[in-house]
């Protein structure tokens, strides 16, 4: 069975919410829609305080080439446009909407009817995706229309759908595949058309045999789409790792996937594309796994963007007593949340509560040079060496040792028997070296 060839780890899965049907989360009283939900420029508000909006109505438009439209996730009245601290405590601009009923704009097709045919051409599809404000929903939140517009002269021959969900605990993609399989296949077909790729591949790790079987059965009617089971190994959902696992080509250091003729889209993004193109529905809600060993109702919740995470937590039975850390995203790459009043964004795939026992670390000790971190690194780097070089501020050497190739997957820190915070150092090192590179280019 296929997988990537360098490094990798096997953390326990803890898929507590696997098989839990997608459930609608209740609407919040107030929705807080951040303007920096996507990578790139801030979106620019097109509404003002006091305006009435309908669910699905454009409230902020893309602020540049790399940016995305934002739509009202609820109906109601704009109460203010103000700053709100994000997950890390930094303040960002957001549109606050006081929720009144749930009136949708009438262009959205809210029926369950499956629409298979799509007569739009590539340009029209990309335009519709841009209009709907779709971003990468695996966590990166990179504007999808930008990814679908490859630089001139580059040919794409395969669209890869990332349905790996390699982070422990998370199950939202899995459940989406079980319930919306056909929509995902149609979305894949649409995306293939958009980038003129003959081949579409959906990569799924073999710890989800039901999803593999389900999509395999359905895919018979969709020419060009192949379902490929992958051997479980973290970080298979890393773009470069997934491409190698599926087509056996390694994206060169510093290059983009397009270099090897591939474009990768997350499976939840593909579903959003289906809804946008076939149902005229902009991206304003998504499925979020709310989970943790002591959470009383772990599950997969269809949640409107802008819903405070505390509401979502409440939905799953409230914050458990022994909660030691709450994480936005998965346990390997997610962010620790300092407060739960922050709202759901388009890139938020999970809300995870870790217990004290899980978060406790041993005392940090000397590096015993055991090579665990080197062997775990999926990029073939030497994390122990980075840490020493960072301590000595050897930025030049760090660049030569390819620190910028690091994908911040955390395999090194996870494996270290001396409990060394390798990735924490690496992030500092990367931003320093990045600065050095930028000043040199100027």
């Amino acid at each position: 069975m296929r997988t990537f060839s360098i490094g990798g780890i096997h953390p326990p899965g803890y898929k507590l919410s696997a098989g839990k049907p997608i459930q609608r989360a209740a609407l919040p009283k107030q929705s807080v829609v951040l303007l920096n939900q996507q990578i790139g420029a801030l979106a620019v508000p097109v509404v003002a305080k006091g305006d009435e909006v309908k669910t699905g109505q454009l409230i902020a438009k893309s602020g540049g080439f790399v940016s995305a439209n934002i739509h009202a996730p609820v109906s109601g009245k704009i109460s203010k446009i103000d700053l709100i601290p994000d997950t890390g405590g930094y303040k960002h601009k957001a549109i606050f909407i006081d929720v009144v009923d749930d009136v949708w704009v009438d262009t959205i097709d809210r029926s369950d009817v499956l629409i298979k045919d799509c007569n739009l051409d590539a340009t029209a599809i990309v335009a519709k995706i841009a209009e709907a404000g779709i971003v990468g929903m695996g966590g990166a939140a990179f504007p999808t229309q930008v990814k679908l517009t490859p630089p001139h002269g580059k040919k794409v021959d395969v669209l890869i759908v990332n349905a790996v969900e390699c982070e422990p605990y998370l199950t939202s993609d899995h459940q989406l595949m079980m319930e919306k399989g056909e929509e995902i296949l149609i979305g894949t077909t649409i995306l293939m058309k958009a980038i003129q790729a003959k081949r579409g591949v959906i990569g799924i790790e073999n710890n989800k045999p039901d999803a593999i079987a389900h999509l395999k059965k359905l895919s018979a009617q969709y020419p060009g789409i192949e379902i490929i089971p992958l051997k479980v190994q973290y970080p298979q959902g890393g773009e470069k790792q997934l491409i190698e696992a599926i087509i056996g080509r390694q994206v060169p250091s510093g290059a983009f996937p397009i270099e090897v003729g591939a474009i990768v889209q997350n499976v939840a993004t593909v579903f959003a594309v289906y809804e946008a193109v076939q149902k005229n529905k902009p991206l304003f809600e998504r499925i979020i796994t709310v989970t943790g060993k002591s959470v009383s109702r772990p599950g997969n919740y269809l949640t409107r963007i802008g819903t405070p995470l505390s509401d979502l937590m409440h939905e799953a039975g409230g914050l458990p007593e022994d909660a030691a850390k709450v994480i936005g995203g998965g346990p390997m790459m997610g962010k620790a949340l300092v407060n739960l009043s922050v709202p759901v964004t388009k890139g938020c795939s999970g809300l995870l509560v870790l217990t004290e026992k899980e978060t406790l670390r041993n005392e940090i000790k000397n590096c015993i040079r055991c090579t665990k971190c080197v062997r775990a690194c999926p990029m073939g780097l030497e994390p122990y060496l980075f840490m020493t070089l960072i301590e000595h501020e050897e930025w030049g050497k760090l660049e030569k040792e390819r620190i910028m190739d690091c994908i911040e997957c955390g395999c090194c820190t996870y494996s270290c028997p001396s409990a060394r915070p390798l990735l924490d150092y690496l992030k500092i090192g990367k931003s320093k070296v990045g600065e050095v590179i930028r000043t040199r280019k100027q």
Partner: protein, 326 residues
């Protein structure tokens, strides 16, 4: 900060895992050498722990880390490289050199360039050559005045005696240091380490493979010089094969390949480098055994390659993702 979960691995797990893997070999040495084996090991371990504690507490003024298992391991490995009738004060000197000089003076666990147990052993070998090469005969269970004899490798080097056959080498009923006897027990321990992923295959396999191939070739090319005293068989291949097997099973080769050369701190930092390191150890071992003046070469070979390790780490890098193939 991310990642928010951890494998749960720790230094302790690794060190105690290695100690566990050494138990079968220790039992064999108990069977072969009796009390002597127990006494030597106990003295060595206790002195290593004591030196580590005293140096950390009073000289370096840091929190002693004797519970991490690394000092115990050094003590056991040192003992395994000693004859079972070695006077206690020599053992204590060895432990002091291992812990005080080879480990602590470089900054403790993780910073020492050379394998502490081997530094201790080689220091003793050079300072007390007579005591260090007088091996009690198997079955001599007393610590104080055991009858002594030569090791198989020593015999090969011109000392008199009847060479043991391969099967008693496998079982351990031969002369030698504590950990040199009992090939089966050592292999068993080594496999456990591999299975538990405490060590990886690169180092032991490249060492053993190199020694095997090298001695096999020597046995084929000049069977008159390189033989183990067996009656010449008609088949030169069989002859060379027994010669090569003899080298694999004798001396500290198995102990060295599985337990000493694989020491994390002093071996290279990636699989490619580890293979080069292993081949180096294998070659040097055979060169010393066949052409050097010491009958046994593994300890020296490992120490020499320890010294080369920083160089290997600088020039041999792991297989990078997206390396541009030329």
């Amino acid at each position: 900060m991310a990642p928010h979960i951890h494998s749960g691995d720790s230094i302790e797990k690794k060190m105690y895992g290695v100690l566990l893997a050494l138990i079968p070999a220790f039992l064999v040495s108990l069977y072969v050498f009796g009390w002597g084996s127990l006494i030597v090991t106990a003295i060595s371990v206790v002195s290593c722990l004591t030196f580590e504690y005293l140096i950390q507490k009073f000289l370096l003024k840091v929190k002693p880390s004797i519970t991490d298992g690394s000092a115990i391991l050094t003590g056991v490995l040192l003992a395994f490289n000693l004859p079972s009738n070695l006077p206690f004060w020599i053992i204590i000197i060895g432990a002091f050199v291992a812990i005080g000089v080879a480990k602590m003076s470089f900054g403790g666990l993780g910073n020492n360039p050379f394998n502490p147990a081997l530094v201790g052993r080689v220091f003793l070998l050079i300072s007390f050559p007579v005591q260090m090469t007088t091996w009690p005969l198997p079955g001599e269970h007393s610590y104080i005045d055991a009858t002594t004899g030569a090791t198989p490798l020593g015999m090969l080097h011109g000392h008199f005696g009847q060479l043991p056959d391969l099967s008693s080498m496998m079982l351990g009923t031969i002369g030698g240091s504590l950990g040199e006897v009992g090939a089966i027990a050592l292999i068993f321990g080594g496999l456990y380490l591999l299975f538990k992923r405490i060590i990886t295959w690169q180092i032991p396999v490249s060492i053993l493979g190199t020694v095997f191939v090298f001695t096999l070739i020597m046995g084929l090319v000049s069977p008159d010089i390189y033989h183990i005293g067996l009656i010449k068989t008609a088949c030169p291949a069989f002859h060379a094969l027994t010669y090569a097997l003899f080298h694999l099973l004798s001396g500290g080769l198995l102990l060295g390949a599985f337990f000493m050369a694989t020491d994390y701190v002093t071996s290279p930092m990636n699989p490619r480098g580890q293979i080069i390191y292993g081949i180096g150890i294998g070659l040097i071992t055979v060169l010393i055994r066949l052409f050097g003046s010491y009958p046994e070469g593994v300890s020296f070979a490992i120490l020499i390659m320890n010294g080369v390790t920083p160089l290997i780490n600088t020039y041999v890098k792991p297989k990078r993702f997206g390396e541009v193939k030329k």
